[in-house]
């Protein structure tokens, strides 16, 4: 039970929280216009983050997302089949995740990037990774190709929007060739 003594403290707290809420709301309003692919995250099977790309997620929320996703993966992805798709949601945000080789891949999106669009994204990502690594990568292989994977990801997700979906095209782009060759 809340004692008398705590009350004013408590009221203050609520006020502060309120301010935070308001602030976040206004920030969210600003963000609503862009229907974003909120994050792409790669971890290894131990939950160490290999690559992460956040778009339009405030820094203080990233930590929550990381732990949320890592927990999700630890709960569900152990022993899952390669590229079997898993789904989760939080409020109006959708999460699709999968495992490829030793690497767990998560994508988060909302609005336009709903479950199926994210499935499309993750399909592009996994097929590109397989293309880059030559097979479903072990963690070692993934790290060996780290640079190229980063570049590929850069071509697939460009400022929070899905860009190239074709793995051949991605391969051309990371070698700085134009999308359609001459």
């Amino acid at each position: 039970m809340l004692g008398w003594a705590n009350r004013s403290k408590y009221i203050q707290l609520v006020y502060t929280l309120n301010l935070i809420c308001k602030e976040r709301k206004s920030r969210d309003r600003a963000k609503i216009a862009e229907k974003m692919l909120l994050a792409v995250l790669f971890t290894n099977s131990d939950g160490n983050i290999l690559i992460e790309r956040f778009h339009g997620v405030p820094a203080e929320e990233r930590l929550h997302w990381r732990s949320f996703l890592v927990k999700l993966g630890a709960d569900n992805l152990k022993g899952a089949k390669n590229e079997e798709l898993f789904v989760a949601s939080h409020k109006s945000v959708y999460i699709i995740y999968t495992v490829i080789g030793d690497v767990f891949v998560y994508v988060i999106g909302k609005d336009e990037y709903d479950e199926l669009a994210l499935a499309e994204v993750i399909f592009t990502i996994t097929s590109t990774i397989k293309d880059v690594c030559g097979k479903a990568p072990t963690e070692r292989l993934f790290l060996d190709k780290y640079g190229r994977i980063c570049l590929s990801l850069d071509e697939i997700v460009w400022t929070g929007m899905l860009e190239n979906t074709d793995k051949d095209r991605v391969r051309r782009m990371i070698r700085l060739k134009p999308p359609s060759d001459i």
Partner: protein, 1193 residues
């Protein structure tokens, strides 16, 4: 290759800097990066023999022990993790020699990949990167260069790119400031980078157009706040589009993607792609016709991604300015136009954007006078329903349903439901790309391109709903979890639209039909009227007439729901959660919900449900209730299942919110049942067999599982608090509205009989009392405290028999009667034995004192009246004043415990009403502020002769009892049920939309001097709920836990009295409306003396008449000033008080008190005094807040 598993404990950099290409890494865990400056990868030789490997194995152990040794062995240096400083240095070095093959190779294979690991890139690298950018020819190197330049450009502190995981980098700008030597901040380099990139992007030489594309792309990473670069970017993009967009006619139809062609057109298409992509990243410029024009040109580009982007831009623009977009699209939308080609475009997101565009345009009011255009887009949208991709199809379904973003109104959703159920699909032709199933359906669809109105029914069209249902059912057969999830979501949206349609009813539907160009509103009303069973008959008839279909909507839905239910078997919780939400939404108020209940109960016994998801479902029920208030009881039942099955995972606040909404919204008939449903939580079924009844369940849970017991206890606390706060509302029983004067009832009846009679009169309240009483002596300490508080609240607010009943009960409890009387219950709870005797007793005593004071004052008043009566005395003004001050004092006391409407509450019973009114009227004391009103306190109001009349008050108590009775019974019922705007206001407030919702509350509460904290509470509560809801609906980007803190903060404070209760705002409003017209007729108490005479004691009327003779209060004001009153001088400022107990400050603005200390009371704020002390106490402060109860005034 190594498995990599063993390296899990090392950092990413350790992993990646171990030998990347040839040898399995001998992991060197714990070895920090050697900071001895050496170029780490200076002359690396990859082609070493296997001999080397053996050697490396032998030396690796030593190396792990002593990293310095690695210096002596240059050929093995690559094994050491590389520090950022080393990478940076090597980039600088290699950039200088970038013309050599060797250094290029190193850059591409060694340095750049490792650099990618870091969070951000040091701006001081920029010069080297720019040098590479200018001099290097190697494509791979350049690609990396663009990558890093983009990362420097993007403002990674707020959003945009943030680099690869795990290795945080310092804030470079801050570092640069400290390091005066080579410090380069981002501000220094960004202009240079952008300048160089802009230059390159404007280079129209076809030889380097690949670099041009990359430069353009890198430029889009610039933060949107940098308007200078953005302007340049706009110029470049429009410049490119100027050149390349015009030749679109050359495009050969049906050829997409990479095709052979002449070099020029390929370059052109590449440039088209790059510029449109860049345009998509630029901020939207709605007013700019050039922007729109270029975007629309983009629809005809040959690159599918370019088409996707341009459609996305157009659909965004269309949301703002549908008219000009539609006009500009012009014939592109017509059959054979470019938009038709998009249907066959191999790009899902492009078609999704197309669906949204079509939806926006076909709904736009601005296009009302151009039905032909609307029809075109409608036809396109319906074609998208047949899309082979589920994503596109479901997007189209959402559009049909009226779910566009999260802001759509109920009418739109309702219209969506009718559209879905009544629309008949006619397709121009069977699309070439459609799934097998849909092919069979579209075969019999006649080709009538231009008609979208169901009025023009042709021979064999396809009912829309049938199509959607089949599609959904096939999706539910899928094994893919995302597909299941999305299908369940579609069903949920269908349910939402359906609920909206029901909620609106026929009248609104007519409007909807007009809005959305529906021809046969007759049909609509038909369907709507018998809403109970989805009107199989009428529906069926309509459909058979149209589509020769044998299926009614009900049967279609039934088979769909069957598919949905089987999906509960999915192993993924999120899919199941979505399915449950869908089921809740599809649940109709009139159907039996046993099946749903069974499903949920069965689901919840699974222990692995994430609590966020469960609370999400609770919020869904909340939303469901908002859509259909009839479902209150059903939903409360389901909520009860949640509370009992998974107490640990349910947020008490979410639950409470649901209760409250249901109670408020359930209407006059439903609220009794609603309260019942809430109270059932108190009788939670025991988790273990063997307990006698629900009473001891709390203790038994604690025996089995402490954690869930705690949670359950919290829920019970919440329920108890809720019950206390709202029982009076649900029972429509208020002391200030009770018609029978308590005094007379007391005298007439024996208390027990009276209680029995009352409980038969008001079973709701009696039931609540029984439950609370049981809670007050059973259960854990916290629950008991809250139960006692709840009882006091009810006692203060209720009319007489109940108050007496509570008083008796509390009395017994305080005396420790529970020990003896209820000892059989005590056996279960060890904790109680010690606490019940003393602790609870001392807690009860102030509450008992309040009630004591009330009764004492009542007795006193009756005695006084009798005395006056017998002696035929008149009430002197002094006597009246004393009476009034007692009244005020009691009001103050009472307000400490719970909210009562100050203007109406009569602590001394209804008989005091007239006397108090006499005094008030004479001294112009406004009811709401009482003696605390400064004008009253200083006596100014006495000088103002009859300036303002306060007639409402006496109207209230002078009307004849029957009328009062009727009014009291109907008061809030009227307000909530017949008053539709009020209901929708609640809905809005709960939806987070209504910041205007608390307005009513505010204007009533501001008038109370002691309302400040109350107000604050109301506001904070509303706002935080608003934020919460907002999160739910739109701002889903918030992270999983971040809102949790807010929710829990909202309160576990139901113990406090300051929670804004349901009725805190409510009763005043109807009073005004009810009595407003009457005020003119009777203005003063002379006018009402006759009814008073009838009902009051005879002596009383005599005094009343005497008051009638007071002509001029002004004359008396001098004599009656502040004569001889000592202890009741609450009216004067400053007031002085004495601390009763020690008080330790709990917050910054609070003040320590020692018992016996004298304080000066400056102000009172809802249960707190702002006091000043004569000398500073332990905390050294002179002034601050202390609880009212600690000070004896």
């Amino acid at each position: 290759m190594a498995s990599g598993q063993e390296s899990g404990s090392t950092t990413l950099m350790d992993l990646i800097t171990a030998d990347p290409s040839s040898v399995p890494p001998n992991v060197t865990p714990g070895t920090a990066a050697s900071t001895l400056g050496k170029p780490p990868v200076a002359d690396r030789k990859t082609k070493k023999s296997t001999l080397m490997q053996i050697q490396s194995d032998t030396i690796s152990a030593a190396k792990a022990l002593n990293p310095i040794k690695t210096n002596a062995m240059p050929q093995r240096r690559k094994k050491t993790p590389v520090s950022y400083a080393q990478l940076a240095r090597s980039i600088h070095e290699l950039a200088a020699t970038s013309d050599q093959k060797n250094s290029q190779k190193q850059l591409v294979h060694q340095v750049f990949p490792k650099l990618a690991v870091y969070n951000s890139v040091d701006p001081s690298l920029a010069p080297s990167l720019l040098m590479l950018h200018q001099q290097c020819e190697d494509r791979s190197v350049l690609r990396y260069v663009y990558y890093y330049l983009a990362r420097i450009l993007s403002d990674n502190s707020s959003q945009g790119l943030s680099g690869g995981g795990g290795i945080p980098t310092p804030n470079w700008d801050a570092l640069a400031d400290i390091d005066a030597g080579g410090g380069v901040t981002r501000a220094d380099v960004v202009p240079r980078i952008s300048e160089q990139l802009v230059l390159e992007a404007s280079n129209s030489d076809p030889e380097v157009h690949a670099r041009r594309l990359a430069a353009l792309k890198a430029l889009t990473f610039v933060s949107p706040s940098n308007s200078e670069i953005l302007t340049k970017l706009y110029e470049i993009v429009f410049g490119i589009l100027e050149k390349v967009a015009e030749t679109k006619q050359k495009r050969k139809k049906g050829i997409f993607g990479r095709q052979g062609g002449d070099r020029e057109s390929i370059i052109q298409s590449n440039l088209q792609y790059a510029s449109i992509s860049a345009l998509r990243r630029l901020p939207l410029d709605p007013g700019n016709p050039a922007f729109l024009h270029r975007a629309i040109q983009g629809v005809s580009f040959s690159d599918p991604i370019a088409v996707r982007h341009s459609l996305a831009i157009i659909s965004d623009l269309a949301a703002r300015d549908p008219y000009s977009v539609a006009m500009s699209l012009g014939k592109l939308a017509s059959p054979g136009g470019a938009l038709q080609d998009v249907l066959h475009l191999h790009d899902v997101l492009a078609r999704v954007s197309l669906a949204r565009l079509c939806h926006t345009l076909s709904r736009a009011r601005a296009l009302d006078e151009r039905p032909d255009i609307k029809a075109q887009f409608m036809a396109l949208l319906y074609q998208l329903l047949l899309d082979p991709s589920d994503r596109v199809c479901f997007e189209a379904v959402f559009c049909v349903l009226g779910k566009f973003d999260n802001t759509e109104r109920t009418e739109e959703r309702a219209a969506g439901w009718f559209r879905l159920t009544r629309e008949v699909l006619k397709l121009p032709e069977a699309p070439s790309v459609s799934s097998k199933e849909n092919n069979t359906q579209s075969k019999d669809a006649p080709s009538k391109p231009k008609s979208d109105k169901p009025a023009t029914r042709s021979k064999r069209p396809q009912p829309l709903i049938k199509l959607v249902m089949r599609r959904l059912e096939s999706s539910f057969r899928s094994f893919s979890r995302p597909v299941l999830h999305v299908a369940a979501r579609v069903v949920m949206e269908i349910g939402k639209s359906r609920a909206a349609a029901y909620a609106l009813g026929a009248n609104d539907m007519d409007e909807g039909a007009y809005l959305y160009s529906y021809a046969d509103s007759v049909d609509a009303t038909d369907v709507d009227r018998n809403d109970s069973s989805l009107s199989d008959g009428a529906r069926n008839k309509a459909l058979t007439a149209v589509a020769s279909g044998r299926d009614s909507i009900a049967s279609l839905l039934a088979s769909l729901m069957e598919a949905v239910r089987t999906t509960v078997a999915c192993e993924c919780h999120y899919v199941r959660g979505m399915v449950i939400k869908a089921l809740i939404w599809m649940q109709n108020p009139h159907e039996s919900f046993e099946e749903l209940e069974a499903i949920i109960a069965c689901e919840l016994s699974d222990l692995s449900w994430p609590s966020a998801l469960l609370n999400d479902i609770l919020l869904t029920m909340h939303a469901r209730f908002k859509a259909t208030p009839d479902m209150a009881v059903t939903l409360l039942e389901i909520a009860r299942i949640f509370a009992t099955k998974a107490p640990g995972k349910i947020d008490a606040d979410v639950l409470q919110l649901l209760w409250k909404t249901c109670l408020v919204g359930a209407g006059p008939s439903g609220k009794h049942t609603a309260l019942e449903a809430v109270t059932i939580v108190l009788d939670l079924p025991p988790p273990q067999p063997g307990t006698i009844s629900g009473i001891t369940s709390v203790d038994h849970v604690s025996a089995s599982d402490p954690k869930s017991a705690l949670a359950l206890q919290r829920l019970v606390q919440a329920a108890v608090w809720f019950l206390g706060e709202n029982a009076n509302y649900a029972a429509s029983e208020y002391a200030w509205e009770s018609a029978t004067p308590p005094g007379t009832a007391l005298m007439m009846l024996d208390a027990d009989k009276m209680v029995a009679a009352a409980s038969s009169r008001n079973p709701t309240l009696a039931g609540a009392l029984t439950r609370l009483q049981r809670c007050a002596f059973i259960g854990s300490w916290e629950v008991r405290i809250i139960a006692v508080q709840a009882l006091t609240t009810i006692g203060i607010r209720s009319g007489e028999p109940f108050r007496l009943q509570i008083y008796e009960f509390l009395h017994a409890l305080a005396l420790g009667g529970n020990q003896s009387r209820f000892s059989e219950f005590q056996s279960s709870n060890g904790e109680d034995q010690g606490a019940s005797g003393t602790g609870l007793g001392s807690l009860i005593s102030p509450m008992l004192r309040i009630l004591d004071e009330l009764y004492l004052a009542q007795d006193e008043l009756i005695k006084d009246i009798r005395t006056h009566d017998n002696a035929k005395q008149e009430w002197t003004d002094d006597e009246l004043k004393r009476l009034y001050e007692t009244h005020e004092k009691l009001l103050d006391y009472v307000s400490l415990f719970c909210f009562v409407p100050r203007a109406k509450y009569l602590p001394m019973g209804p008989i005091s009403a007239k006397l108090i009114d006499v005094y008030r009227t004479r001294h112009n004391i406004s009811e709401s502020s009482g003696l605390n009103d400064p004008a009253v306190a200083t006596g100014i109001s006495d000088l103002v002769y009859q300036l303002k009349e306060t007639p409402k008050k006496e109207q209230l108590y002078s009307i004849d009892p029957d009328l009062a009775n009727a009014w009291a019974a109907n008061l809030e019922d009227d307000f909530w049920s017949s008053n539709a705007p009020a209901m929708s206001r609640v809905n809005e407030f709960l939806a987070g939309a209504g910041t205007d919702a608390p307005d009513v509350e505010d204007e009533n509460m501001v008038s109370r001097t002691s309302g400040t904290y109350e107000d604050m509470w109301a506001k904070t509560l509303l706002q935080s709920y608003e934020a919460e809801e907002d999160d739910v609906r739109s701002s889903g980007s918030s992270s999983p836990e971040s809102t949790g803190s807010v929710e829990t903060s909202i309160s576990s404070h139901f113990g406090g009295m300051n929670y804004p209760s349901l009725f805190s705002s409510r009763p005043q409003q109807p009073q005004e409306s009810r009595f407003g017209p009457a005020t003119g007729s009777r203005s003063t108490y002379e006018g009402i003396s006759s009814p008073v005479r009838e009902e009051g004691p005879p002596s009383y009327s005599a005094t009343m008449q005497r008051y009638g003779s007071f002509e001029n209060p002004l004359a008396r004001s001098g004599s009656q000033s502040f004569s001889s009153r000592d202890d009741e001088s609450t009216s004067q400022k400053p007031r002085f008080g004495k601390a009763l107990y020690d008080f330790t400050a709990g917050g910054d603005d609070e003040l320590d008190l020692a018992a016996g200390e004298e304080v000066e009371i400056e102000d009172e704020v809802d249960g707190w005094f702002y006091v000043k002390k004569k000398r500073p106490g332990r905390d050294g402060k002179l002034a601050g807040l202390v609880p009212v109860l600690y000070v004896n005034v």
